[in-house]
């Protein structure tokens, strides 16, 4: 399986990769994007099985990237990993077509549960 991780913070991308490993998902191929625009480009070029994206990023934010992806006909499973986990943000994420929203700080268990929703097993 291939997972695309989009976050403008390299530190956070590394923490997400580490947490995936702790959740038993260390064998997947990982590709990384620094913003929403790169995310859209890499979604087309890399055809990942899952996209894990920050919400708040420069160039293009995560929700606009998701809108663009869905508008182009892409149905790649998409989940947010963001510091903003309020009910309003979760509703916006779901309405836009996200499968889940993992709030920072997160646990390996949160990733295990979320990836299960996307049908991705360790």
């Amino acid at each position: 399986m291939k997972i695309l991780i989009a976050d403008d913070s390299r530190v956070m991308r590394q923490i997400v990769v580490r947490t995936l490993r702790q959740a038993g998902h260390g064998s997947h191929e990982i590709v990384e994007a620094e913003n929403g625009r790169q995310l859209c480009e890499m979604a087309l070029a890399e055809r990942p099985d899952l996209i894990l994206s920050d919400w708040n990023m420069p160039e293009m934010n995560g929700i606009d990237a998701l809108d663009q992806l869905r508008g182009s006909g892409s149905a790649i499973p998409f989940g947010f990993v963001t510091s903003e986990g309020s009910p309003e943000m979760r509703e916006r994420a779901e309405a836009a077509g996200a499968l889940f929203l993992i709030a920072k700080p997160f646990t390996p268990e949160a990733f295990g549960d979320a990836l299960g929703l996307a049908g991705i097993t360790p």
Binding site: D8, S9, R10, V11, M12, Q14, I15, R18, N56, M57, P58, T82, S83, E84, G85, S86, E88, M89, A103, K104, P105, F106, T107
Partner: protein, 153 residues
């Protein structure tokens, strides 16, 4: 019109502790006496919308370096990595503060400075957490913004 509600100091300290123990050190931060000048690295994020405020993190350079090495799990960290790590800290605390406040609102990207950040004149401190980690001060503050106050400089 911004609503004059604020998180409590207890809320803020709990949020900071949660972020800290998740990514920096499982040992909790200790309460500390407030310092007039807590350090030389600062980070800020701004919330605008139904609630308007700013969240700042201030810490000494040695602590910023240690935070980066802990978050990246490396022995050494560059200044770019230090800025990334401290920015991510304020982003996580700011996002969680935003989630406690009235919505809808937007969270800005974090700004990090090696030095102090000058807050807008309309910013009023609402609550703060003065903490210590390995003998180094870590100060996190929430400021309310008046409706005409702009971001930090």
């Amino acid at each position: 019109m911004s609503e004059l509600v604020t998180p409590t100091a207890e809320d803020l300290q709990a949020l900071v502790e949660q972020v800290w123990t998740s990514y920096v050190d499982p040992e909790p931060l200790l309460p500390a006496a407030p310092l007039a000048d807590p350090g030389c690295w600062s980070a800020v994020t701004t919330v605008t919308g139904a609630w308007r405020g700013m969240v700042t993190v201030e810490l000494p350079e040695r602590a910023a370096h240690a935070v980066a090495t802990r978050m990246l799990e490396v022995a050494e960290a560059s200044r770019e990595e230090m800025a990334d790590a401290v920015g991510e800290l304020v982003n996580m605390v700011g996002g969680n503060v935003k989630s406690l406040m009235p919505e809808p609102s937007q969270l800005s990207l974090p700004m990090v400075a090696s030095g102090s950040i000058t807050l807008p004149s309309g910013a009023q401190e609402a609550c703060r957490a003065d903490l210590a980690w390995q003998g180094m001060p870590i100060t996190v503050r929430v400021h309310l913004l008046e409706n005409d106050a702009e971001g930090a400089a």
